[in-house]
Symmetry: C2
Amino acid sequence: MADPIPDLKTIQIFYWTATLGSFSRAAEHLNTTQPAVSHRIAALERAFGLTLINRGTRHLSLSPKGHELLGYAERLLRLHGEMVGAMTVPATQSGSLRLGVSETIVHTWLTAFIDRMGRTYPGVAIDLSVDISPAMRDALLRRDLDLAFLVGPVTTPRLVNVPLGRFSTAWIASPRLPIAAGPVDLADLTRHPIITFPPNTMPHTHLRDLLAQADLPPLRLYTSASLSAIIRMAIEGTGIGAIPAEVVRSEIDRGQLRVLDARVRLPDVTFVAAYENAPDQGLSAAATQIALEVAADWIAMNPGHGNP
Amino acid sequence: MADPIPDLKTIQIFYWTATLGSFSRAAEHLNTTQPAVSHRIAALERAFGLTLINRGTRHLSLSPKGHELLGYAERLLRLHGEMVGAMTVPATQSGSLRLGVSETIVHTWLTAFIDRMGRTYPGVAIDLSVDISPAMRDALLRRDLDLAFLVGPVTTPRLVNVPLGRFSTAWIASPRLPIAAGPVDLADLTRHPIITFPPNTMPHTHLRDLLAQADLPPLRLYTSASLSAIIRMAIEGTGIGAIPAEVVRSEIDRGQLRVLDARVRLPDVTFVAAYENAPDQGLSAAATQIALEVAADWIAMNPGHGNP
DNA sequence: AGAGGTTACGGGCAGCGTAAGGATC
DNA sequence: GATCCTTACGCTGCCCGTAACCTCT
């Protein structure tokens, strides 16, 4: 009845080798050397007495039994991660979380999120980077990020999407800009430059579609990857901002900006937390829970916005 | 991203410590020493930063978190065992299986079972012991057996029961015994000694109940733990055997014994495979599958008996 | 005093990393 | 020759087992 127990570490190494399709990439991912990976895979195959990975030139492929094992490996690692997550008291959890966020999040509840993360997981270091959503999507897929709060959904089966809330995009302008107080239509708006996010972002695409349909004078569409820059330009009367009203709440309160009452509404923008659907992303999942709470709190404190 | 991986072996040690309620018993079960168990449990608690096991005097108890972990541990070990079972090609499986069987099984399909096990799992050594069912039940619970084919069901949540087939108990006698050919009733039967299994076995109990209800002359109930001895006595006319007809098929064919046409039928006896419901009993489960097949084959080759 | 758990210590070996050796494009 | 996997080899450090100690009945 003596149990020959193939180590979890071996299973983990197999999992990542199979998933990443390369011994060396698996080694890199697991902070070890390529020979170590090679060894353990060989040992695993020897233990089972069968071939798991066909070493094709250039690319690896899994044998039928290899595929079978991969299924078990994922379930096993996920269950293990769940167990560790359930047992580890948050305060003692350590590690690092490479987090990417949209600037919109920075201007709404990021501070609250960082605060609560710091209090809940004092041992976790957050590596923050702010970027536009498409860039973060790529970074997630490249595994340069563990978690991102971005405009979604991100339609890739490899990523988990968790909705965090909706922002309504509004037309924002300086009160000094000569625009009627009552409902204005598209022609009135486009007399001024429209300032929004860079190409390939969702607000930009929506805006392009909207303005392409109408028969309008030559369009001036200013873009900036920096939300602050957009806000600054709007305040200074450079043009009309097409951004979530929520991020300029204080400027509106101070009278530096106002929300225009336009006949044409811009589509809402949904923010999601996205992270790789891998067995070792327990911390990302936990952080997403915190983000959900923080986002809900923020919505409660900023009535009239976010999820209905 | 660096994963602190609590070893499966640690989980296994925790599982058995919790299950057996003692460090030393766990050590014994896992073929290691008690300090090794102590160390790893301590290390596990240190890793999680919490107490899992309350070292009460005389008896251990689990903390709430310990209970939680036990649940995960069982799922994890079971999944792992399943994985190993699925990956290991049977021919390379090794180990030993402590098997207990009722003598009835010996006289029916045990040989076929041993044959097929030997062919399917050439690396597995079977330690066979033949005994009466109650004794085997206790042996299973004492973990002196891994698997038993016995009269069931065994009503203990700790054991898995898998029905293997039903045998109808019959009245068997030598043709030389002066008994009418037509239907006979209880009084006719009890003029002779009744020979059956020892006290505490199911056939014996049934027989006692049956005969206690009737108003009969002094009863001579001979018992033997050896089925062969019962058969021998029946053949020699010592008495009437109350045993499954299936086990004396050849004697009946040779005319040494005949099945009496009695008005009173004895209850069927159900055989089951029973083994402990623990994560490391994959081999027992596999052997039970073999037994199911063999029993089904045997029933097919001996029409009129077994499962309808 | 004895059963059962903890602590202390030395030694074996698994598994890691470095480095050199194929194979394939 | 560049890339990727395998093989060789020495070494570290983990973990095990022995043994002595502690504690409670």
